[in-house]
C-alpha cells in the first residue's frame, strides 16, 4: 500500500511533466549544449576539458532537479493540492518518495544522455567505471529534490523560489573545487566547502576522471552525497506541516 501510493505519486509527477514536453526537452538538451560549448572553449586544451567536463556532469542534475522540485512543490503549496493530500492517506514521506522516484528517473535519463554525448563524440576521458558516474548523478538529483523542497518552504511565489537558486546552488558551485582546487583555497573557505554536498559530488567526479580503480573513493563520495540528500529530504518533510493558519 505504502509503495503503491509512492508509485502513484511518482507516476502523477511524471504525467505532469509529460504534458510539458518543452521542459523535458530543455532538461535534456541544455546540458548537452553546455558540454559541447565547454568542449569548443577548450578546443586546444584537452586536459582542461577532461578536468572540468566530468564535474559538470554532477552539477547539471543538481540545477535541473532543484529548480523543478522547488517550483513543483511551491505550486502544490500555493494551489492547495498539498493541503488536500495531507488530508488523504498519503504520508509525507510517501509524497516525497514519489517526487524522489520521478525526478530520480528523470536524472538517470539526463545523466545517460549527457554522458553518452560527453564521453562519446566530445571525447571526455574518464578512467573510472562509467556506471558509477550515472549513480553519482542520480544521488546528486536526490540532493536537488531535497534542497528544492526546502527552498519551496521559504518562498511564497515563483519569483522568490527562483531566487533561492543563486543563494543555495551558486556558492556550492564556486566552492566545489571546479574553479580552484579545494586544497588550494584559504582554510576558512576550504572548511566551508567541506560542509557543502556539491564538493563531494565533484570530488567523486574528479576521482572518476583521474584514476583507474577509483571505485572505493567514489563510493565514499557517493555515500556522503546520499547522506546529505536524505538529510535534506527529512528536513524538508518537516516543513510539510499538516496544520497551517
Amino acid at each position: 500500500m505504502r509503495t503503491a501510493r509512492t508509485l502513484a505519486t511518482a507516476r502523477r509527477v511524471l504525467l505532469q511533466l509529460r504534458h510539458d514536453p518543452r521542459t523535458i526537452a530543455l532538461m535534456l538538451l541544455v546540458p548537452c549544449v553546455l558540454e559541447t560549448l565547454l568542449r569548443l572553449i577548450y578546443a586546444h586544451h584537452r586536459a582542461a576539458f577532461d578536468q572540468a567536463g566530468a564535474p559538470l556532469l554532477a552539477f547539471f542534475p543538481l540545477t535541473t532537479v532543484f529548480l523543478v522540485t522547488s517550483i513543483a512543490l511551491l505550486r502544490e503549496r500555493v494551489t492547495g493540492t498539498l493541503e488536500r493530500l495531507l488530508t488523504s492517506p498519503l504520508g509525507r514521506l510517501e509524497l516525497l518518495g514519489g517526487y524522489a522516484v520521478s525526478f530520480g528517473l528523470l536524472a538517470t535519463t539526463q545523466a545517460i544522455v549527457v554522458s553518452a554525448l560527453t564521453l562519446g563524440p566530445l571525447g571526455l576521458r574518464v578512467r573510472g567505471p562509467v556506471p558509477l558516474l550515472v549513480v553519482l548523478a542520480v544521488c546528486v538529483a536526490l540532493l536537488g529534490t531535497g534542497l528544492g523542497l526546502l527552498a519551496s518552504a521559504f518562498a511564497r511565489s515563483e519569483f522568490q523560489v527562483v531566487q533561492f537558486f543563486p543563494l543555495i546552488i551558486l556558492p556550492q558551485f564556486l566552492l566545489c573545487g571546479l574553479l580552484v582546487a579545494r586544497e588550494r583555497m584559504p582554510s576558512v573557505l576550504h572548511a566551508i566547502s567541506d560542509a557543502l554536498p556539491l564538493s563531494y559530488a565533484v570530488d567523486g567526479m574528479h576521482h572518476l576522471s583521474r584514476q583507474t580503480g577509483a571505485g572505493g573513493a567514489v563510493t565514499a563520495d557517493i555515500a556522503i552525497v546520499l547522506g546529505f540528500a536524505v538529510s535534506a529530504l527529512v528536513l524538508g518533510a518537516a516543513t510539510l506541516r499538516r496544520q497551517t493558519d
Partner: protein, 242 residues
C-alpha cells in the same frame, strides 16, 4: 426538502464539535462552537462570506492551526490516519492539478485512497471531458473535477466547501440531488454555501455569522420558528430574535 430515509432514524454523529474556538493571526475567527454533523444526512453550513465557514471545514479536516475545544471526527481526532482514510475534502478553490487531464487527476486521488475511479466522472457530469487538461476547463468544470477527486474512495465523511458556487441552476440542482444520494448511501456530508436558498436541499442547517453559530436546525424548524418560508428572511428574523 428530501424525504426522511430509514438511515436517519438510526443515525450517529459523524462529527461532533464542542466549544470549538479558532484563532488566526491573533484574531478569533470561530468562537465557542458546539454543533454536529449526522451520518447519512446532508448538513448545510450557511453564512455570509467571512463568517468562518471555510475555517470550520478546515478545522474538521485537521489542517487548521490555532484550534481549541474538542473535535471528534468519526470517533477519532481530526487528521488521524483513520480519519484520512474515510474523508473526502473539497477545498473552496479547486485544488487539482492544472497540468493533468480530468481522468488523470481523478485516477491519482483514487490511487492514494486505494480505490477505483468507478462512476465518479458520470456523477459530476464530466465523462465527456475526461481527456481534457484541467487548465483548459471553465471555473465551474474545474470545481467539479475537484469534487470528483473528493468523491473517490467512497468516503464516510464529505467536507465540501462551496461546491455549487458559480454553477448554472440545472447543474446546481443535480449536484444537490447527488449529495442527497450520497447521504442515502450512508455518507455524512457537510456542505457550505452562502446562498441561503440552497438550505432547502439539506436535512439540517448550521447557520454561522461572525464566527458564532446562530442556530442548528432542520429547514422545517427554521420555517416554523421564524414563520416564513423565505430563507433569507428567516435568517434575518433568527438573528433579530437573539
Amino acid at each position: 426538502m428530501r424525504a426522511p430515509t430509514p438511515t436517519e432514524t438510526s443515525r450517529a454523529d459523524a462529527v461532533q464539535l464542542e466549544r470549538l474556538t479558532v484563532e488566526r493571526g491573533g484574531r478569533i475567527v470561530l468562537r465557542d462552537l458546539t454543533a454536529s454533523v449526522g451520518a447519512g444526512r446532508v448538513t448545510g453550513l450557511f453564512g455570509p462570506s467571512g463568517s468562518g465557514k471555510s475555517t470550520l471545514i478546515r478545522a474538521i479536516a485537521g489542517v487548521q492551526s490555532g484550534v481549541r475545544g474538542t473535535i471528534n471526527v468519526l470517533g477519532e481526532r481530526p487528521g488521524s490516519m483513520a480519519v484520512r482514510r474515510s474523508l473526502g475534502y473539497m477545498t473552496q478553490d479547486p485544488s487539482v492539478y492544472d497540468d493533468l487531464t480530468v481522468a488523470e487527476n481523478v485516477r491519482y486521488f483514487a490511487a492514494i485512497h486505494g480505490g477505483q475511479i468507478g462512476s465518479v466522472l458520470e456523477r459530476v457530469q464530466l465523462q465527456s471531458h475526461a481527456t481534457q487538461l484541467v487548465r483548459n476547463l471553465s471555473g465551474g468544470q474545474r470545481a467539479r473535477v475537484s469534487l470528483a477527486t473528493a468523491l473517490v474512495g467512497r468516503p464516510r465523511l464529505l467536507l465540501l466547501d462551496e461546491p455549487t458556487v458559480g454553477l448554472d441552476p440545472l447543474l446546481r440542482r443535480d449536484l444537490w440531488q447527488l449529495f442527497g444520494e450520497l447521504a442515502i448511501e450512508g455518507s455524512a456530508l457537510l456542505v457550505s454555501s452562502h446562498v441561503l436558498d440552497e438550505a432547502r436541499h439539506c436535512d439540517e442547517v448550521i447557520l454561522l455569522r461572525d464566527g458564532r453559530i446562530v442556530a442548528q436546525l432542520t429547514p422545517a424548524e427554521l420555517a416554523s420558528r421564524t414563520g416564513t418560508d423565505d430563507l433569507d428572511e428567516a435568517f434575518i428574523r433568527l438573528i433579530e430574535q437573539r
